[in-house]
């Protein structure tokens, strides 16, 4: 294809948007609605997952050692635990650190009488943080078989709640994606049907003049892609401001929950959302225009 033809095709695609203003507006509105719904849902799901992940990362399994176990053995146990796939991090807490934390948290000035003494002698431990709390049971089963471990502390209830939340999020995500998909299909098929009636005559004329399928299709496809980009940009801008406001509102109005609710920054959300929304917009615009033209190419 000549560069002049390519340039002409691009210009025609751009001009097509303004030639059929109502059709273009309807298509942009359709794509923008789909992507707006998707973006809101995306921001909610990603934040809920982030909150759950943060909660998961604070859940630790603590292991204490048999009396008289050597430092070398403790180190070896630590190495073995670190190799487990479900383990994110292992922190060694010495008896002194355990006592200091306990003093600070619970005794305060009353700890003065214990100067030079450590009532928690022998309480050195590993705090094991996991990347998937649903595997806590597997880890505990393994730890029970490790030689040198005296006691394992864990919270089954917390792990179960978090696992259940994760499962519910997955199910709800799937359900909402299904509904969004159905709504999008309905809206897009309506827009495509409208596009067909707008394009029918024009495509027939082009074909009778001797335009190849490629030449007929190209401006419409470029038009579809441009409309897709506009249809993606508009909801992205709207969601950006809505997100910033919503997070500020939640943080000020529900500050009691600040320790539980964790929000990703708007930059973090949009670094994921912009490419996804643009791909969706361009994809919908591209496919919609392709289907519209395809039906009329056999003239």
């Amino acid at each position: 294809m000549r560069i002049s033809t390519l340039w002409y095709t691009f210009k025609q695609g751009f001009k097509n948007i303004f030639r059929n203003k109502m059709f273009s507006l309807a298509t942009i509105a359709t794509i923008a609605s789909c992507i707006f719904l998707f973006s809101i849902f995306f921001a909610i799901v990603v934040n809920v997952q982030y909150t759950v992940k943060e909660a998961e990362s604070s859940v630790a399994v603590t292991v204490f050692f048999d009396e008289g176990v050597s430092d070398e053995r403790i180190q070896a146990i630590g190495e073995e635990i670190r190799k487990r796939p479900e383990v994110a991090n292992v922190v060694f807490v010495s008896a002194d650190e355990a006592w200091n934390t306990f003093k600070n948290d619970y005794l305060g000035e009353y700890a003065d009488g214990y100067e030079g003494d450590n009532p928690l002698e022998g309480s050195e431990n590993f705090e094991i943080y996991m990347n998937d709390v649903s595997k806590q049971h597997n880890l505990v089963s393994y730890l029970e078989t490790v030689d040198g471990i005296r006691e394992i502390n864990r919270s089954d209830a917390t792990a179960n709640i978090l696992t259940n939340i994760n499962n519910v999020i997955s199910m709800v995500s799937l359900g909402i994606i299904g509904i969004l998909f159905a709504v999008s299909l309905f809206l897009i098929s309506t827009t495509v049907a409208m596009g067909i009636s707008v394009r029918k005559e024009e495509i027939a004329i082009m074909k009778l003049i001797g335009a190849t399928d490629f030449v007929v299709r190209s401006p419409f496809v470029i038009e579809g892609i441009l409309i897709g980009i506009i249809g993606a940009m508009l909801p992205l801008i709207a969601v950006y401001f809505i997100y910033v406001e919503a997070v500020n509102y939640a943080k000020t109005e529900f500050n009691v929950l600040n320790d539980i609710l964790k929000f990703l920054s708007v930059d973090e959300i949009f670094s994921m959302l912009i490419p996804v929304a643009l791909i969706l917009g361009v994809g919908l615009g591209f496919l919609g225009s392709l289907i519209t033209v395809r039906r009329h190419l056999k003239v």
């Binding site: 002049s4 002409y8 030639r19 009778l208 001797g210």
Partner: protein, 228 residues
């Protein structure tokens, strides 16, 4: 240039449109195809444009065997034929220049060449001063001239005109017919489907009459024959 050998066409509902048509049109001829509504004239044009395939028989147009023509070659074939229709079929949202230039763009003529060819063609049809006008701002006669300019800008060896005066008043009809005659004198084979008796009788060209899908008469310097 155009040859139809035992061509028949029936539609899916079984209605026969053309029956055993044999026709030969030489290079440089001017031929009227006449007949009343439903006689099969439009079907003939659609067959010649490869919009339809015959139920039986063979069609040769400008050295293309249309029965063997693959779908992807149809576009190239159509570029060898200029075509004008009763309803003009212009791109309504583009101006006169763009409508004519479009025929050149689809065959990838360089822009510099298009800028020379289109004004020359618009001069030929008498619309040089209206190249910027939107087609919906033009009269019927002017729209048909644009369609004619578009059909001719690529210098096709054949021009098919399907009822080119059907939507025009007598004065505009005559002007279009004079243009077609002029184009024919320049060497283009012209095939005009019409039921305009006055024009056919006045121009004294070859007249092929179709009645109920059958050629009933084919005469040099012929006249319009009434259905009854």
């Amino acid at each position: 240039m155009i040859t139809l050998q035992s061509v028949s066409k029936s539609y899916a509902n079984g209605v026969p449109a053309l029956n055993d048509i044999n026709l030969n049109i030489e290079k440089g001829e001017f031929v009227f195809i006449v007949g009343d509504s439903g006689s099969g004239k439009s079907t003939l044009i659609k067959l010649l444009l490869r919009e339809l395939q015959p139920s039986s028989g063979q069609i040769f147009v400008n050295n293309y065997d249309l029965s063997k023509l693959k779908r992807r070659k149809v576009a190239k074939f159509r570029r060898s034929i200029g075509v004008v229709f009763q309803d003009f079929r212009l791109l309504k949202d583009r101006n006169v220049y763009e409508n004519v230039a479009f025929a050149q763009r689809v065959i990838e003529v360089p822009t510099r060449q298009i800028k020379k060819n289109v004004p020359a063609m618009l001069s030929l049809v008498g619309l040089a001063g209206k190249y910027k006008a939107k087609t919906r701002q033009l009269s019927g006669g002017e729209q048909q001239r644009v369609a004619l300019a578009r059909a001719l800008v690529n210098n096709p060896p054949i021009l098919l005109a399907d009822e080119p005066t059907g939507n025009l008043d007598p004065r505009n009809s005559w002007e279009i017919m004079k243009l077609l005659e002029e184009i024919n004198k320049r060497g283009t084979t012209v095939l005009v489907v019409t039921h305009n008796r006055e024009i056919v009788n006045a121009m004294r060209k070859r007249v092929v009459t179709i009645k109920k899908g059958v050629i009933v008469s084919d005469e040099e310097k012929g006249e319009y024959i009434d259905e009854d």
